[in-house]
Amino acid sequence: MSLQIKDLSFSFGEKKVLKQVSFEVSNGEFIGLMGPNGSGKTTLLRCLMDYLPAASEAVLVDMKPIHTFSQRELARIFAVVPQSSTTDFTFTAYDIVMMGRIPHISSRFVGESRADADVVHQAMEKTDTLRFSNRIFSELSGGERQRVIIARALAQQPKTLLLDEPTVYLDINGQFEIMDLIKKLNKEEGITVIAVLHDVNMAARYCDRIALLNDGVVESIGPPKEVLTPDTIHSVYGLEVVIRKDPFTKAVYVMPRTSAPFVHRHGTRVHLISGGGTGGPIMKVLHDQGYSVSTGVVNVLDDDYVSANDLHIPVVAEVPFSQVSEEAHAENLRLISESSFIVVSSFPVGPGNFKNLEAARAALALGKTVFIVRPKDLPSIDFIGGRAETLIADLIDSGAKVSEDISDVLQMVPEVRRG
């Protein structure tokens, strides 16, 4: 079965919800519809199933406009799984699945046939719902209910499943269970899947292609790794993100970089001496508060290096597994001299990066305020036979201030600037 959407526009009264949406879906594809609330995802889905009247010729099934199909014919092509289904009425799970046969039963004067019962049985087998076949639907858990609804959809023997945020009310277990089930049906039964999904990472993991909608327009469509880029996500969701690869599935993985994307950048410069992944959280807090952060010296493979790059902040880097070179140290000192104050994270100190502590001492000598962030009950960070602890004690004696975390530091900062 082929599905084409050509210049599909739809308005609720004056409000245009879909503006000339066009794309094609090939047989057996798994397509995710994504976009912020109100971008038109659900409306698009409802136009596909002809629940909302789309302009004629806009949705074509096997090259024919959906208006040329009867409602019952469409019910055998598309099966819908809504966000959640509840009813106060005491249907059993079996009753619900049997409802999927309605579009196949030729007349209201005949009952369900043996063949119908077999289709229902198979649908329940595939969705692992046979074991609660006789239980009351409304008494099942959210995940079980959703499986039953998917079984009902399968009983329609559709070519295409249309799902509207099928996991939105489920816990994390349930979410993966349902998505795995849908993927299985997509692979094994060859059913085309078009799903409105709210979770980008869920979409990246399961979809062959993603259509990203924004304000009724398809902003981008293609494989997840092409669609889910920091730029598209920023333009559609207004959110700064970083993209990683899931180490197990190789799917792209989207992480919000900051929850406060529009901070006032006041330009006060801070230099962070870090390493071993201890600097990332501090960097992010300082960055979110509008400071211009720099950091160093870290090795290129260090998590702090990755974090600094994600935040696009200056970082003094050293090649992996090498000592801090003189050049790097000098660069570090230069950044320190240009900063209003210095923050030192509790990075593990070894012979390779001992110079970073010396840089902190140099900062004090330059008259800079130095804050040492040292969480309570931190195991020793000294991997250089006591020299690190001695130097830290010396820093504290010379006026470095110790805080348990970065937010305490920020509370002290205004005083520093005044003084």
């Binding site: 409802r46 199933m49 629940y51 009867s70 409602q71 019952r72 469409l74 019910a75 598309f78 099966a79 819908v80 809504p82 289904s85 509840t86 009813t87 106060d88 009425f89 005491t90 249907f91 059993t92 079996y94 009753d95 619900i96 409802m99 999927g100 309605i102 579009p103 039963i105 209201r108 004067f109 009952g111 369900e112 046939s113 043996r114 063949a115 119908d116 019962a117 077999d118 289709v119 229902v120 049985h121 198979q122 076949s133 329609q156």
Partner: protein
């Protein structure tokens, strides 16, 4: 792949479902027949009854009923048999209408009485009676006028309970209660205004089967049979409607058309019943709910089950109404309300505790 092998699991479930359906309906039909027979025996004159002076033997009663001979023939064939049959048909019509309304409103608390449709029908029939268009002129006049006003009422209440396309259960029920009270007041006003007798008012507001005649039996039978068949034939569609408009549409059902058709049919059945017996409350609430508790919500069982049991229920309620305060008769609506009121509160509490209503 069509499996005709009875050992296949799907087929097993199938045949057990249809066997169960047949058994249920046979059982309920048997119960109805039994209740008719028992109700015929019960009465001031009869084998079972409150006054010992007027005892008729079972033999004489059976003889009068089945051979239309003997000294008691008129009692049975002119009075009691039409009355019991009318009770059965009215009960069946109200219960079936209630079942359809509950599905349409997706709310187990809906019923022709609570939604105000019965009051609407009573207004039409009472007005027709007061301006001289009585059953004596034509047996079809009171139900016709009742149908017009019932239809208007059901769609007014539906519109009041719907906000931007969504039916709000609480709004719907409150609108229904308000409309019912308002229309009931108009009925009372009209009856006082034209100085009719007090018993007329009681008749309309509490319901009674005292005026039962064969004509009425015939008219209500037509309405009940056509109505319940139409509703039964849309049983699968009603099932689908309960999963929401979107799902119903996706299963090939037109939700808006189905709602209008079912409300129209329910109004027709209610109107015909009310036109001859006044407002008998709660039958359409209690019976579908009891049937749902026992047999589940599948309308292909529920509709016929509620229809059959509605008949049984009202026949028994009327038998109690006739005899419990002998020698006077209670309006049958008193008995159904005595059962229905507490039942309604129980359902309301339960749905509140369950957190979901409609």
């Amino acid at each position: 792949m069509v499996a005709s092998d009875p050992r296949k699991p799907g087929s097993d479930e199938m045949s057990s479902v249809s066997r169960r359906r047949t058994l249920i309906l046979l059982g309920l039909a048997g119960l109805l027949a039994l209740s008719i027979l028992v109700a015929l025996f019960i009465g001031t004159l009869g084998p079972i009854g409150p006054s010992a002076q007027h005892r008729i033997s079972y033999g004489d009663a059976l003889k009068a009923i089945f051979t239309r001979t003997g000294e008691w023939e008129n009692i049975f064939w002119d009075v009691r048999i039409p009355r019991v049959l009318l009770a059965g048909l009215v009960g069946a019509a109200l219960a079936c209408a209630g079942t359809a309304m509950q599905a349409v409103f997706r709310n187990p608390l809906a019923d022709p009485f609570i939604i105000g449709v019965s009051s609407g029908a009573a207004l039409g029939a009472a007005t027709a009676g007061l301006i001289g268009l009585t059953a004596a002129v034509s047996i079809f006049l009171p139900p016709f006028f009742a149908f017009i006003t019932a239809l208007v009422t059901v769609f007014v209440v539906y519109a009041l309970g719907t906000v931007r396309g969504k039916v709000y259960a609480d709004t719907l029920l409150l609108s229904g209660v308000a409309v019912a009270a308002f229309l009931g007041a108009i009925v009372s006003f009209l009856i006082y205004f034209v100085r009719e007798q007090f018993h007329q008012l009681i008749f309309w507001l509490l319901g009674s089967l005292t005026l039962a005649s064969w004509d009425m039996v015939l008219v209500v039978a037509i309405a009940a049979v056509i109505g319940s068949l139409l509703i039964f034939l849309h049983g699968r569609d009603l099932n689908a409607l309960l999963l929401g408009d979107e799902t119903a549409h996706n299963l090939g059902v037109d939700p808006e058309f189905l709602r209008k058709l079912m409300l129209g049919v329910a109004a027709m059945m209610t109107a015909t019943a009310v036109a001859f017996t006044g407002i008998i409350g709660f039958v359409g609430l209690i019976v579908p709910h009891m049937m749902r508790l026992v047999f589940g919500a599948d309308h292909r069982i529920l509709v016929p089950a509620a229809t059959l049991f509605g008949g049984t229920f009202l026949i028994l309620c009327d038998a109690v109404a006739r005899t419990v305060a002998a020698p006077t008769e209670l309006p049958v609506g008193v008995i159904t309300a005595l059962c229905g009121g507490p039942f309604f509160i129980y359902l309301l509490r339960r749905s509140r505790l369950g957190g979901e209503m409609g």
